[in-house]
């Protein structure tokens, strides 16, 4: 994808499997929203193909798609029911079915008495609930959520998570862009990390952790820990240190070798535990240098 002469997304290839929850990760400006917009045909890519269910996306296929864009909005001067019915009809529901679905949803989220209220008379949290309802109308087979918890209060965030779980149990595929790494670790089956419009890492969370070396060694010790090309010393206190292995994937050095090197160097090792890097730690290590960038 090129914009005004600059390449925003390049050489990117990934697939999302039916029924899985897929995390689309990256710092601001890494090309996530642009890729989603290209996927949905809002932007037209310079080259390449983006398929949903084996075919290029068309608005006609959008009837079973639930899209929560990063930029949230509803027709503010219309009533809640009018807005929901309108979007329901756009998604192929009859007016009667759209009204019925909307009323059921509003009752579920405690807004049944607001059906005839204008959207701009609702609180921010209530508008979020309506927005969420519009997104999941017609029980979408594919949910594309661009920063779904952005701006959501904790109550609505919980509601969103519940709805995502429900949709997933019903067989929906979920593609979500987020910066909330704990949500990713909790919800996503697989992820892709974008950097500069390219895939930095791609796979299941353990695979990504392995791709990044991802192993941290915490040791209690006495003596001097020598420098080594096999690890970075991220924390070094008098009797405690954290070592991050520097290799990636198959190039990772075996933890036993590190232990032997330490012992050979005269370090008295009292404790030696290994753990994987969290996604957040990986995210920080990947994007730490460019986290001031803006605009996806």
């Amino acid at each position: 994808m090129d914009f005004a002469g600059s390449t925003v997304v390049e050489d990117l290839s990934f697939d999302v499997r039916r029924g899985e929850t897929f995390g689309f990760l990256g710092s601001n400006g890494s090309g996530k929203t642009t890729t989603l917009r290209a996927l949905l045909g809002i932007y037209l890519p310079t080259a390449g193909v983006l398929h949903i269910d084996g075919r290029p996306f068309t608005p006609e296929a959008g009837s079973r798609l639930g899209y929560l864009p990063e930029e949230r909005g509803l027709y503010k001067k219309e009533s809640v029911l009018t807005v929901m019915t309108y979007f329901g009809q756009l998604k192929g529901l009859s007016k009667k079915a759209a009204v019925s679905w909307s009323m059921n949803y509003l009752a579920r989220v405690g807004l049944e008495d607001k059906a005839k209220a204008r959207v701009d008379n609702l609180s921010g949290g209530q508008q979020q609930k309506v927005q969420l309802g519009v997104t999941i109308m017609n029980d979408p087979e594919l949910l594309i959520l661009d920063e779904p918890t952005k701006g959501f209060d904790p109550v609505n965030r919980r509601l969103l998570m519940d709805i995502m779980e429900e949709q997933k149990r019903a067989g929906a595929t979920v593609l979500m862009v987020t910066h909330q790494m704990e949500e990713v670790e909790r919800l996503c089956d697989r992820v892709i990390l974008l950097k500069g419009g390219r895939a930095e890492a791609y796979g299941t969370i353990p695979e990504v952790q392995n791709q990044y070396g991802g192993t941290m060694i915490r040791i209690g010790y006495s003596g001097d820990i020598p420098d080594s090309p096999h690890y970075d010393i991220s924390v070094r206190d008098r009797n405690y240190a954290e070592l991050t292995l520097t290799g990636t994937g198959t190039k990772t050095v075996d933890e036993a070798l590190i232990l032997r090197d330490l012992v050979d160097a005269g370090v008295l090792v009292r404790s030696f535990t290994t753990s994987k890097l969290s996604l957040e730690e990986i995210f920080v290590s990947v994007y730490g240098e460019q986290n001031e960038m803006v605009g996806a």
């Binding site: 949905l40 809002i42 890519p45 608005p59 959008g62 864009p69 909005g73 509803l74 998604k91 519009v134």
Partner: protein, 339 residues
């Protein structure tokens, strides 16, 4: 003659003027030897802004009656006063032209064009701004083809325009047909109007093409501007372009082949009004009408495509004004669902 009308001949002007000043005399009229070349002077007691006009009337009346008296023949007097009627019959290509009464019906399209545009222009401008200002464009675009969306908006504007014209015309027609006498409305003799079917069709097509062009343009402007306020300056420029031919109306009527009128005729945004006026005045040749109508509809189609493209990219730049350079540097579809 002045004596016969109740006046008195006075030779001493200074004394007469003094009498008027003191209020002893009402007015003193000084007629020169040759009133056609030298002004008649009147000195009178002030009767206020409107009352003072009577002095001019009396002075002119005295001269007019004197002249009629000199002619002595009422028929010659009437001719001298220009009280004659002239009936003109003119021909174009061997056919009798309709004259003034033939101009009125095609001018109705100018009125309709203005009326509809003035009533709907704001809706045209805000029709896409609504999606943008409410930030719902992305959700809309995942369920609706942008061409269908823009076309639907334009068609709905056409329908609204038609309904608005009906809303204005139906009460007038009902009042005229059923309540003309109680409302004391003047009787209009429709048989005196000449309806040239070709002129009427051309007028209708020009109005329709012009409406399509202006609607598409305003929709396109709405697609790239973040708010209605930002779109205002473009809107004003468009209005100026539309009505500028009216400032050259006398030239349009008297010299339709002048370069200015020709430019207004073919420049797309001044073309509808200019061509409709020339069509009504009978100075728009058939081939000129064909060119202008083709131009308007062709450009409307191009502007519609442009509006769709601008909407696609412009309307998701929710807070930014989108430059044409940015829009046209966006790629064309390659192997992706094209809309």
């Amino acid at each position: 003659m002045a004596t016969a009308l109740g006046g008195t001949i006075i030779t001493d002007d200074a004394a007469a003027i003094a009498a008027v000043k003191s209020g002893d005399g009402d007015a003193h009229f000084v007629y020169p030897a040759d009133p056609a070349k030298t002004a008649t002077q009147v000195y009178g007691v002030d009767k206020g802004l409107f009352g003072n006009g009577e002095y001019d009337g009396v002075a002119t009346q005295v001269l007019s009656i004197s002249a009629q008296d000199q002619i002595g023949d009422p028929a010659l007097t009437a001719l001298a006063q220009g009280n004659i009627s002239v009936t003109s019959t003119t021909f174009t290509d061997g056919e009798e032209t309709a004259g003034f009464m033939g101009m009125i019906p095609p001018l109705i399209f100018v009125a309709i064009f203005f009326l509809v545009f003035m009533l709907l222009s704001n809706q045209m401008l805000t029709s896409t701004l609504e999606e943008k200002e409410n930030r719902v464009t992305e959700m809309i675009l995942t369920t609706l083809n942008p061409t269908a969306l823009i076309s639907g908006k334009i068609i709905s504007l056409f329908i609204v325009g038609f309904v608005q014209v009906l809303v204005f015309l139906v009460p007038v027609l009902v009042a005229y047909v059923f309540f003309r006498t109680p409302l004391n409305l003047p009787e209009i003799d429709l048989s005196s109007f000449t309806f040239d079917p070709v002129q009427m069709i051309i007028g209708a097509l020009l109005a329709l093409g012009g409406f399509a062009l202006f609607t598409g343009t305003l929709v396109a402007i709405g697609a790239v501007m973040p708010t209605a306020k930002d779109a205002g300056s473009w809107f004003s420029a468009l209005i100026v372009l539309m009505i500028v031919p009216l400032y050259a109306l006398s030239l349009v009527m008297s010299d339709p082949n002048s370069p200015v009128v020709q430019m207004f005729t073919y420049f797309p945004y001044s073309a509808p009004i200019t061509a409709m006026l020339r069509n009504a005045f009978g100075s728009l040749a058939g081939w000129e009408a064909a060119i202008v109508i083709t131009e308007l509809f062709l450009l409307s189609a191009i502007v519609l495509q442009l509006a769709v493209r601008l909407f696609r990219y412009g309307s998701i730049e929710y807070t930014n004004k989108v430059s044409f350079k940015t829009v046209f540097s966006r790629p064309k579809a390659v192997g992706v669902g094209r809309r």
